[in-house]
């Protein structure tokens, strides 16, 4: 099989039977500290693959689009072929790793709300943190796609946290990669394993790559422990997280908006002389029964054209923030 890509802990092969698929093989290598620390642990690839299989299947079952198709023999999974976005998404619930170092804050502080951060995939510059503004200005990704990634990441955070909570484990943080399939569906790609997430048992005992980073304990036994716990978790007991999107419908520019005009006059009567113009539109708060996917966004567009807005006189947009 042809190797398409070789990363630090994975190899990607072309699927000889389909152009739209790839085979991802998990290797035994573990790296840390931006590649400064590197070691092989026999059997690590297989466990990371086992855990990815469990977690991708779980997320798919909850309605989140991933690249995962099925498990193959050995440490391999069959996946949809995607164009990977050049940005990695990190979601943090508790301060650990680079965040603590960056701001000089002690490990273990829990955020009130999960934090989503972006990092550019750029080994030469050590995968630097990047803002949304910089991403869009560098033309790496669109603002809409980034908003979508944030929503999916937070959704995954909910589902992973709930599953781990069943077994009294804590999801500290995790990294995701996303990609676009041939039919323009945005999916979660890469892997979901202790190589890419921090999971604590008890107060702060790591069951993840921190075992290697910090040189404490046996990596294989920590990974195996997490796998065995996940294997007995009950995905069906995790409740669906209802998500809300906003649809905003506004009068097109150039079209008179009488409700806005009478509102403007009323505001002037109240003495707000600074008001120059008022346009009145509508906001729809739509609660969904499932996570937001590319298909949901397509459906929202159709909903807008068919019912929520009158395309002749109004414009519409979906707000995910």
């Amino acid at each position: 099989m042809d190797v398409i890509y070789e990363g630090k802990a994975k190899r990607v092969f072309a699927d000889p039977t389909s152009e739209d698929r790839v085979i991802i093989e998990f290797t035994d290598s573990v790296t840390a500290g931006d590649g400064a620390k590197k070691k092989k642990f026999e059997g690590k690839g297989a466990i990371a693959c086992d855990i990815s299989e469990i977690l991708f299947s779980y997320l798919e079952g909850k309605g989140i689009d991933t690249h995962y198709i099925k498990r193959l023999k050995g440490p391999q999974i069959l996946c949809k072929k995607v164009m990977i976005f050049p940005v990695e998404v990190v979601c943090r619930n508790i301060i650990a790793g680079s965040f603590g170092k960056r701001y000089g804050i002690r490990k273990g502080t829990r955020f009130e709300q999960p934090l989503v951060e972006f990092f550019v995939k750029d080994d030469k510059h050590h995968d630097p943190l990047i803002t949304m503004g910089a991403i869009t200005r560098l033309g790496l990704m669109s603002r809409d796609d980034l908003q979508f990634l944030i929503r999916v990441t937070l959704s995954i955070n909910y589902y992973l946290q709930e599953l781990l909570k069943q077994r009294k484990l804590t999801l500290v943080d995790f990294k995701l990669e996303f990609g676009k399939t041939a039919d323009d569906t945005i999916v979660v790609a890469d892997e979901l394993s202790p190589d890419t997430m921090r999971v604590w048992e008890g107060k702060s005992t790591p069951l993840d790559k921190d075992v290697f980073r910090e040189g404490k304990g046996d990596l294989i036994s920590a990974y195996s422990k997490l796998f065995n716990i996940l294997r007995t978790a009950k995905p069906e007991e995790v409740e669906i997280n209802r998500e809300m999107v906003q649809v905003i419908v506004e009068p097109k520019s150039g079209i008179k908006n009488p409700p806005g005009e009478v509102t403007r006059k009323a505001l002037l009567r109240l003495g707000f002389a600074e008001v120059d113009d008022v346009r009145v539109g509508k906001v729809f708060n739509i609660t969904l029964k499932n996570p937001i996917t590319t298909e949901t966004l397509n459906h929202l567009n159709i909903m807008n054209v068919k019912l929520l807005s009158n395309p002749i006189s109004e414009k519409h947009r979906v707000r995910l923030e």
Partner: protein, 231 residues
């Protein structure tokens, strides 16, 4: 001929319409509640969508009714050439479903307007204006969203294709801004579909169809509609 008079939840002009149509010889109007779906249209030779406030005018006037099952049946029958008339909220439903061009926006004053207006009938012949070409009619309007709007291209098309049978005017038939009650583009009060078999208008011909109502100017429009159902 059998004329289906549709009633959506919130329609309230159906009785006036049925009564006015009943007085025209050969017309057999019957009430069709929208929940009947496509079955309600089976024997129809013509369809009348009366005014009112279908679905409480929620979302936009006519928007919710425009996606009902029975409305899909109206679309199919329109394509088959059946005469169809929508008045006031009926007109709003027809534009929302795209059977007629344009949109009906809130009145320029942002007020509900209920008053008598004059309409200049187009000189050119249409299915609904036979015998009244070029006339000035007196009829009432009663609406909050009757401000007709369409794109410049659409406006050119409907004007060129003689699809604007009614315009708001003054008593002498002069069409200008001072006789425009609601801000409609070029004083448009009614439009026709491309085939000419579907008419939508904001003024109420059924409320101007008997002497006791103060005008009979709307009657010829209804008579032409009934006659068309026999073709």
């Amino acid at each position: 001929m059998a004329i289906a008079v549709l009633r959506y939840p919130g329609t309230n002009n159906e009785d006036d319409v049925i009564r006015s149509l009943s007085l025209i010889s050969g017309a057999d109007p019957y009430l069709v509640p929208s929940r009947k779906g496509l079955a309600g249209l089976e024997k129809a030779d013509g369809i009348f969508i009366p005014g009112g406030f279908s679905y409480g005018d929620y979302l936009r006037a006519g928007a919710v009714a425009s996606v009902e099952t029975i409305t899909e049946g109206v679309r199919d029958l329109a394509e088959n050439g059946l005469p169809i008339m929508g008045v006031c909220n009926g007109f709003q439903i027809l534009v929302e479903m795209g059977l007629l061009p344009g949109a009906l926006l809130p009145n320029e004053s942002a007020h509900f307007i209920c008053k008598w207006v004059y309409l200049k009938v187009s000189d050119k012949p249409t299915l609904f204006t036979e015998g009244i070409e070029g006339a000035v009619l007196r009829m009432p309007i009663a609406h909050a969203e009757g401000n007709y709007y369409c794109s410049d291209e659409e406006l050119e098309a409907i004007s060129d294709e003689n699809r604007v049978p009614f315009k708001y005017c003054d008593e002498s038939g002069y069409v200008d801004d001072s006789s425009n009650p609601n801000g409609s583009i070029q004083n448009i009060a009614g439009v026709l579909s491309q085939k000419g078999n579907v008419l939508g208008l904001m003024p109420h011909p059924e409320r101007a169809s008997r002497p006791i109502l103060g005008s009979t100017d709307g009657l010829p429009i209804l008579e032409n509609f009934v006659r068309a159902t026999k073709c």
